[in-house]
């Protein structure tokens, strides 16, 4: 049994596919996996990757930096205005961003923006590596 997964961004539907399972991480709730037949669910996504497991065992990893996940019936919708599929990630840029953010954090431990940027860069790198 599979269900339909869609990553909806303001610019359009960024990704869609069939999946057996979707693994995401919500704010405050930790990792959560959805399988067909899951109870209707709406969650706020943490800065983390979303794994889409295909029926044939393959998986797509998406970097979702902010957004929501809605599970209803046979459909999983990920709403995000900041997201990338693994192929779209510029690894060099993510590395550079990571260094900048680390430097900023070293200078000021409470720099929230830098902490966020660091988390985003980490997710990008993780997702990009997962694919490699």
């Amino acid at each position: 049994m599979t269900f339909q997964v869609e990553l909806v961004s303001p610019e359009g539907i960024a990704y869609s596919g069939e999946a057996e399972m979707v693994i995401a991480r919500t704010v405050g709730g930790g990792e959560i996996a959805f399988q067909p037949g899951h109870v209707p669910f709406i969650g706020v996504l943490a800065v983390w990757s979303v794994d889409v497991v295909h029926p044939d065992g393959g998986r797509d990893t998406l970097a979702v930096h902010r957004g929501f996940v809605q599970v209803a019936g046979t459909k999983v919708t990920i709403l995000s205005d900041m997201s990338e599929a693994s192929g779209e990630i510029d690894v060099d840029r993510a590395r550079a961003a990571r260094e900048v953010a680390e430097a900023a954090l070293a200078a000021d431990k409470d720099d929230a923006a830098a902490a966020e940027a660091l988390a985003r860069a980490d997710v990008r790198l993780t997702v990009a590596n997962a694919e490699a």
Binding site: T26, V27, G28, G29, F41, I42, G43, F68, L79
Partner: protein, 313 residues
Amino acid sequence: MAGGRERVLRRRITSVQKTKKITRAMELIAATRVMKAQQRARSSAPYSRQITQVIENLAAAGTEVDHPLLRKAEKVERVGVVLITSDRGLAGPYNSSIIRAAERQVQNARAEGADYALIIIGKKGRDYFRFRNYRIDSFTEGISDNPTYEDAKAVADTVAQLFESGEIDRVELVYTEFISIGSQKVVVRRFLPLESTEVMAEEGHGEAGAVASFEFEPSSEAVLEALLPRYVEARLFGALLESAASEHASRQRAMKAATDNAEEMIVKLSREMNQARQDAITTEIMEIVGGAEALGSGDDDKTDTPVPVGVQN
């Protein structure tokens, strides 16, 4: 000289022809841009529809939060007017009608005894209000032609900040709604404060109604709080996209009218020119004939001078 008029007309025709080429090119460019802008507006629809759907579900769960974006001021002291105009002109009445509607909002605010704050997108709007010494609180250019979500977010953040800090108590959004290629309408929408979730859900597309009871994580309130800023951004983004499509459609229409007028003018001027040329030719012939006659009659005078009757004998 007789050829002077013709030359002047010919020069005018050439200049109108050149103008026509330009307006024709602009018309074609605008036409392709309308298509693109429409396409973008269409592809952004699922996102705002989904957000509205989540809000519907939240409303069905009876979620209400005390979010700064929902704050209803008891007394409105300052009204924010967000207007979306274009950076470039030659778009017919597109900008002037937006500006007129926005100015009316400012006047309404004043009539209510409130101050105003102008948040302008597009050079045309800025030029107008700056010339008339209005105070402009925020100005963004270079985005109305082909807006990205990042652009929308930047402007939405500015507006939300002004609102959350209590500097403005109400925000009206003035933009052009794209109905079809042939018809666009200036609309004024209440942008902030947001309505309660029930009203937002009702205003939405109401897709198949809310589904059963949802589980929310971390909590329905937290979801709503995270969602409201995105909702504001998505709404502004939608307005920007519609405005962009409308701008290009208006320009296409204006340029089509200009091209048609140029064509008409060329026909009229050509007729005038032909007539002028004909006149010139006729005059010339008359002159030649007259001259020849003058010369000829001079000769005639010598050879057979008519002898007055009665003098002969």
